[in-house]
């Protein structure tokens, strides 16, 4: 008997045949399949009883009510709160996926001070006592030198308790420099103040309107009021007309009854053109215009100088002229004007993160359409929502140093001779710092809730300016772009971990105050910014400490909200019970006591009759039109967070492959533009603007006007985590600022650009 290779093979074959007749292959296959679907390192939610906590999302100012489902101390799922007066159950992807930020690696987990060079990413953990002492010492030093006004604070909002505490601290300390980051709200608030004399924000009663004329508003494209809009949109019946004026077929345009593609930047001119038709054809609301408005007809002031009125001004904006400027047909303009003013409850809407220029004159021109329709303070029209007054404040005494500091001019030029009405002009700060010859006029900067190094246009210039500020403190919950360039990190909790009041969101026609509250206990060593401000104030002693008589932030919030606290604790929101006053006689607090088409306050001091006209000519974009023949416009999307806080990775997953693929961002161009520049679908190209250049890929899209390059906003993050950063380009970094001569606000709605195949 010989045993050789063939015997061995036979043994193996026998074994193989035998094995197929056992459960081994079938059972193993099944078990391996189960194992691969249940990797032991995949996190699995804890099991246990569900708890539902009603709260409010504060990731944007939209104020949407949420219900968070938790198991033990773990937030599992976030959904819209049914019957909430703001969003009525609807919710945007940012809120739905918020738990990913809560548990993600972008969080700053404890107070830290910079260990290496700025922006190098080297940090040293410190205690809260040391962190607060560091801030106090630095600020005390500036105060001793008599320079308290060289401290500034940048915040994403000026409403609500945290903003009030920060502002109150600055006032008690001696600085007038509380600065809100720029948004489309600035021009909205300013136009309301100048034309109606009301401080506050414009409320749009979209739910009851039957003709909504939206001037580039990003209603369904990730505006900071997504829940409010979705809730209104869900209630629209067939008769409601939504007309979207925008150069790009956005989601809003796609859902509108009519999409009108006017050239970007000409929205204000179009509004005047519509006004021209309405006035010429006598279609305006006579009762309102004749009895409750001023500046419609030509008028004379006390010195006898003649001023042109709205009627004379819109004469220059004939449909033919406006058609040429906007790229529309004169018939389209005339028919739009007629259908707007003849609707039962028409409303002209601007703001809502509008893609149009944020200029004051544009906001005034659009507001004037509502006045012509007589829909101010009427159902389906415009309401005035006052500044939040629910926080009851104790008077504070300040010392001489604080008083002298508060009287210094603001570092951002807001409220100065050139811009008497602007409240915050963060866009001017980089230039002011750059132009300073000696030390920078800001020696210490506190950043709370804002992320200016990402959200500001031309953020390279902003970064250079920040480099000259010797001491930057970030209160951010995340390692965002601004926190990365700070010297001291005092992390705020995630919104699911803390109390916070939520003032009425912009655009909402009624007062709704929300309460964001802890859904889970934090697992990090973080502190509420409100608490930190109170603790810093207490460390100063004297007048400053006395201005903060509260134990901590919660104590302050409860005492300030007084009787509203109980309702807020129970329901999560509080609404004003009194019905809106719909009369016009007492509505306006302007010098004339009426609605002012061309606000006298705006031109007070300018003295020239020419100043009476709304100015659009000076708003052209910087750069040489020959070298940079195209126009770059940013667009927002509900699936990409474009504000201070970045997308969650889950949100990025929902973005189409025609917007971002791997780390490349796609810009949208019209096929005609592509042909002109020899570009095909998917080509790599170099995009140049006066502010910089970027590598992009092109996506051919017939829904974007020829000559435009549309780029999504919210990408190109450098902070947060490796799962978020490095995808695409930050479109704001490519857009140089354009100053509105009337208000000082930044009105950049795009940038001149060139696109070349790479």
């Amino acid at each position: 008997m010989k045993i050789d290779r063939r015997c061995f093979l036979s043994l193996v074959v026998g074994g193989a045949v035998g094995t197929t007749l056992t459960p081994v292959p079938w059972k193993l296959t099944d078990d391996i399949a189960i194992w691969t679907q249940n990797w032991p390192w995949t996190p699995v939610p804890e099991d246990g009883p569900n708890k539902y906590v009603k709260s409010v999302c504060t990731q944007c100012p939209g104020g949407c009510g949420i219900v968070a489902r938790t198991i033990k101390n773990r937030a599992i799922k976030i959904e819209g709160q049914p019957d909430h007066p703001v969003n009525n159950g609807s919710l945007c992807p940012k809120a739905i996926s918020a738990t990913q930020h809560l548990y993600g690696p972008s969080r700053i987990q404890e107070p830290m001070k910079r260990a290496g060079e700025r922006g190098q990413g080297k940090w040293e953990k410190i205690s809260w006592d040391e962190a607060i002492a560091t801030v106090s010492e630095k600020l005390a030093e500036l105060r001793t030198k008599g320079k308290p006004h060289e401290v500034a604070c940048i915040s994403d909002t000026d409403k609500g308790s945290v903003a009030y505490l920060l502002d109150r601290f600055l006032r008690a300390y001696g600085s007038p420099n509380f600065i809100r980051t720029p948004t489309s709200l600035d021009a909205q608030e300013l136009s309301l103040y100048l034309s109606c004399g009301q401080q506050g924000s414009i409320g749009y009663d979209l739910k009851n309107a039957d003709f909504i004329l939206s001037f580039g508003c990003a209603l369904m494209d990730g505006c900071d009021a997504a829940g409010q809009i979705m809730s209104a949109y869900a209630g629209f019946d067939q008769k409601v007309q939504l007309v979207q004026i925008e150069p790009r077929l956005s989601d809003t345009a796609g859902r509108a009854s009519k999409w009108i593609a006017a050239k970007p930047g000409t929205e204000g001119i179009l509004a005047l053109g519509l006004g021209h038709v309405i006035v010429r054809e006598n279609l305006y609301n006579k009762d309102f215009v004749n009895n409750f408005s001023a500046g419609f007809e030509d008028w004379q002031d006390e010195s006898g100088t003649a001023h042109p009125g709205y009627r004379s001004m819109v004469k220059d904006y004939s449909p033919d002229k406006v058609a040429e400027l906007t790229g529309l047909s004169s018939q389209a303009i005339e028919s739009l004007a007629r259908s707007f003013v003849r609707a039962r409850r028409p409303i002209a809407v601007s703001g809502y993160n509008s893609t149009g220029s944020g200029s004051l004159d544009q906001a005034l021109a659009i507001f004037a359409l509502n006045a012509l329709a007589g829909n101010i303070r009427k159902p389906g029209g415009i309401t005035f929502v006052g500044e939040p007054d629910y926080l009851s404040w104790t008077e504070m005494k300040i010392d001489k140093t604080a008083s002298a500091g508060n009287q210094q001019p603001r570092v951002d030029n807001a409220g100065s001779g050139s811009y008497p009405h602007a409240r915050y002009l963060l866009n001017q700060l980089p230039r002011v710092i750059k132009d300073a010859k000696a030390d920078a006029p800001v020696q210490a900067l506190l950043v709370a809730g804002a992320n200016p190094l990402y959200t500001m246009t031309d953020n390279k210039a902003a970064a250079e300016a920040f480099d000259r500020i010797p001491f930057i403190v970030s209160f951010s919950a995340f390692m965002d772009e601004t926190a990365k360039h700070a010297d001291l990190l005092l992390p705020h909790p995630h919104f699911l971990e803390c109390y916070q009041d939520v003032p009425t969101p912009a655009g909402l026609p009624e007062t709704v105050i929300g309460l964001s509250r802890p859904v889970v206990k934090t697992s990090y060593d973080v502190r509420h910014t409100g608490d930190v401000v109170i603790q810093i104030a207490k460390s100063f002693g004297g007048f400053i400490e006395n201005a903060f008589p509260w134990k901590d932030y919660e104590d302050f919030l409860q005492k300030s909200l007084s009787e509203k606290w109980k309702t807020l604790e129970k329901k999560g929101y509080w609404t004003e019970a009194t019905p809106q006053d719909t009369t016009w006689s007492e509505a306006f607090r302007t010098p004339s006591g009426k609605f002012e088409f061309l606000p006298r306050a705006k031109f007070a001091g300018t003295g020239s009759a020419k100043g009476q006209a709304l100015v659009f000519d000076n708003l052209s974009l910087p750069g040489d039109a020959k070298e940079l023949p195209l126009i770059l416009i940013p667009y927002t999307s509900a699936r990409i967070a474009h504000g201070p806080v970045a997308n969650t990775p889950f949100m990025t997953k929902t973005v189409d492959a025609g917007v971002i693929r791997k780390n490349d961002v796609f810009v949208e161009i019209n096929p005609r533009t592509a042909e002109e520049y020899g570009l095909s679908q998917g080509d790599r190209a170099t995009l140049k603007t006066p502010a910089g250049q970027a590598r992009v890929r092109v996506n051919l899209f017939e829904g974007v006007m020829p000559g435009l390059v549309a780029m999504p906003a919210g990408l190109g993050r450098t902070g947060f985590s490796e799962y978020i950063a490095g995808k695409g380009v930050n479109v704001y970094s490519l857009i140089p600022g354009v100053e509105d001569p009337g208000s000082g606000l930044n009105t950049a709605w795009g940038a001149r650009a060139s696109l070349a195949k790479a």
């Binding site: 026998g14 074994g15 007749l21 056992t22």
Partner: protein, 213 residues
């Protein structure tokens, strides 16, 4: 021609003969059959002891004869599963008998405030969404239908854990061929078992996302 034949004969002389090859085949065959049917199940499953040998019968008698006295539905309709220590303590803060298992429970878990790490026979993987409410309340099914008559048992069965997946042997069933009813008298609980019963009772196997959300 003749040279070739010679070569073949010569090489055949060096080879093992047919029956030797067959014997090797048989050895391989029989060895694999034995290891597949006898050794493999023993290797695949490890046997684990429950932390406490729990007497269901005593508890059912004391608690009113219903499973849901301890295995109850929460207010929101979700199923609580095995009771937590807090629920056990409501009776067992002190010993109620001199049973060694109860003494062990009180010493090791109640006094140390530690949850009992029960081994769950019917635990499904986390990728499976199973609603007890839909079956017990919606379809009016009895607990015993799937879980067997655990309520009358006086001690806990042996728990066998699959070394690859980490799940209980009850899901697949004790028989490697999945023949017959499970020993515990309930049902097997693989996906096909769900589908089979759904097809019989509702006329449809159901859709993927009903259980795999």
């Amino acid at each position: 021609m003749s040279t070739q034949t010679d070569n073949q004969t010569a090489s055949a002389g060096n080879r093992s003969s047919g029956w030797v090859i067959f014997v090797f085949f048989l050895i391989g065959f029989v060895a694999s059959i034995i290891s597949g049917w006898v050794a493999f199940p023993k290797l695949l499953y490890s046997t684990k002891q429950q932390p406490i040998d729990f007497n269901h019968r005593v508890h059912v008698e004391q608690m009113g004869g219903q499973c849901d006295s301890c295995h109850y539905f929460r207010k929101d309709g979700s199923f609580a599963g095995a009771p937590t220590l807090e629920e056990c303590i409501s009776c067992h803060s002190y010993p109620m008998s001199d049973d060694p298992n109860e003494m062990k429970f009180i010493e090791e878990y109640v006094n140390q405030e530690k949850e009992v790490p029960w081994l769950i026979y019917a635990q499904q993987p986390p990728c499976v969404f199973f609603s007890h409410a839909a079956h017990v309340k919606g379809a009016d099914m009895q607990c015993q239908t799937c879980h067997g008559d655990i309520g009358s048992s006086t001690s806990l069965r042996q728990y066998q854990e699959n070394r690859i997946t980490g799940y209980s042997r009850d899901i697949w069933g004790h028989s490697m061929l999945r023949l017959g009813e499970p020993d515990h008298g309930g049902r097997h609980q693989k996906m096909n078992d769900c589908a089979e019963c759904h097809l019989k009772q509702t006329g449809s196997k159901g859709n993927c996302f009903q259980c795999h959300k």
